[in-house]
């Protein structure tokens, strides 16, 4: 068990393994993304009230659901960094933060674009939107902290700590915001109702898109982690070998 764990923590092992997986992941993503997009854009019946813009649904929901996963991911990686001092965990956490910022940003943007036709405004201070915005701020805080601390080791541990504290706080924020707003405003259109009202021709492509976007997320995380590994291990023999091999 321990052996397996330390092997998992080895950047070299991860680099090699992920190198094998990457082509498959990319292939899977291309297929699902193509099917999902074509289905979503061309074959889903036009909604009575949403017109063409409702297609953004198929981007918004997958992206938003991934954004929610980023903080827990970073917190787990952070805990591993702090307790076992595993370098790989920190590299993943470091790469996940900016990707998380982008995904959260896209979720906010697509939500806003969708909100315009649906609610007649780009932004409302609704519970879900607000908690998402706050998470966005926290993620930017993590990225800013990382860039502000020069020593990589200290930065790793500081960000790990902040991610853990933030991860405890994200549900609290979500809960308190929800509880704060439901008393003020009627429940928002963000619910599964719309979905269950529609048939599988709506949600099957959605599931496909979710798979595709998850894949996209994993691929970008792996790519940027591989990059980070090469950066940090650039003076170890195996990286030099790779670089030499690529030069030839």
């Amino acid at each position: 068990m321990w052996l397996w764990f330390s092997k998992l923590g080895s950047p070299k092992w991860f680099y090699e393994l992920s190198g094998k997986w990457l082509p498959w992941l990319v292939a899977f993503m291309v297929v699902t993304m193509t099917i999902g997009l074509i289905w979503a854009l061309l074959f889903v019946p036009e909604d009575y009230q949403q017109s063409f813009t409702n297609r953004i649904f198929y981007v918004h929901v997958p992206v938003a659901s991934i954004s929610l996963a980023v903080f827990p991911l970073m917190a787990v990686a952070g805990a591993i960094t702090l307790v076992w001092k595993m370098k790989l965990a920190d590299m993943v956490a470091k790469c996940a933060a900016p990707i998380g910022v982008w995904f959260t940003g896209v979720a906010l943007a697509t939500g806003a674009i969708w909100g315009e036709p649906m609610w007649g405004t780009w932004w409302v201070w609704d519970a879900r939107l607000t908690s998402m915005l706050l998470q966005f701020f926290l993620l930017i805080g993590v990225v800013a902290l990382r860039s502000a601390i020069e020593s990589p080791d200290a930065a790793a541990r500081a960000c790990a700590l902040l991610s853990i504290v933030g991860a405890i706080n994200v549900p609290i924020i979500k809960y308190s915001v929800e509880w704060w707003n439901t008393l003020h405003q009627p429940p928002t259109p963000l619910s599964m109702d719309a979905e269950s009202a529609n048939g599988p021709e709506i949600w099957v492509p959605l599931l496909i898109m979710i798979a595709a976007v998850y894949c996209f997320f994993v691929i970008s995380l792996i790519l940027s982690t591989r990059n980070e590994i090469l950066q940090r291990e650039r003076r170890s023999q195996w990286v030099m070998d790779i670089v030499a091999a690529e030069r030839v």
Partner: protein, 238 residues
């Protein structure tokens, strides 16, 4: 790393832990006393920020009544935040922080002492002044006590959470703002609950739930936040 931050076992060390705790508390209060500004400033800042609203927003009493709870809470939060910078920075710069970290006493208690003194200096005066400001903002009289009590429960949380942010950033060149970016989102729940409680009180709604929530958050942050700050300090001093 963080295990020495836990309370110690043997009683001999515990006696001296208390002495060290008291000495640290007294020292920080003494420093604040000597720079009288530290005592006056959170108060003044609180006063000024609150009074920006009648100037910037509207001087209509009805309008002010509606926004009173929120603005007083937001201002209290900002006042706490602004005074946070004093918490570890000077100690970092003159090397006292290293001395603190090298004390054989559990760091948890040392950080707690600093937190408590920070709250006594910056939080408590704000709490005590809040009824006056509430009056100036035409808050309904029913809500005064709620304001005071929620601030009493909430401002320590601001200090405790804030300390984590300061501890994380104490070694960095740029001050203040990165702190705000980290700390403000963390303290948002307290703000929401506190302001909501005051607003509910003006409407005569029941408040038990709010108090329970604030109390729970306070208890949690009292026990966990100093640990996080202690760990953060060890990282920053590196």
């Amino acid at each position: 790393m963080s295990d020495q931050s836990m309370p110690v076992q043997n009683s001999a060390a515990q006696v001296s832990t208390f002495a060290a705790f008291r000495a640290t508390l007294r020292r920080d209060l003494l420093i604040a006393l000597k720079r009288r500004n530290d005592l006056l400033n959170p108060l003044m800042f609180f006063l000024i920020v609150v009074s920006l609203f009648p100037l910037g927003v509207s001087s209509d009493p009805n309008e002010l009544t509606r926004i009173a709870a929120g603005t007083v809470w937001v201002s209290a939060l900002l006042a706490s935040m602004l005074s946070l910078d004093n918490l570890f920075r000077a100690d970092y710069e003159d090397g006292s922080l290293e001395q603190l970290l090298l004390s054989p006493q559990p760091l948890y208690f040392m950080v707690l002492a600093k937190n408590i003194s920070h709250w006594l200096i910056s939080g408590l005066p704000v709490v005590l002044l809040s009824p006056l400001l509430a009056y100036m903002m035409y808050l309904p009289a029913d809500a005064y006590w709620t304001l005071v009590f929620t601030l009493l429960l909430g401002t320590p949380v601001l200090s405790l959470f804030g300390a984590i942010g300061v501890a994380l950033t104490v070694g960095l060149g740029s001050r203040g703002l990165i702190l705000a970016v980290i700390v403000l989102p963390l303290t948002m729940p307290v703000l929401i609950i506190g302001a909501k409680a005051v607003a509910d009180a003006s409407l005569g709604l029941p408040l038990g739930m709010h108090y329970a929530l604030l109390g729970a958050i306070l208890a949690m942050s009292l026990s966990l936040a100093p640990l996080a700050s202690a760990a953060a300090l060890r990282i920053s001093v590196n």
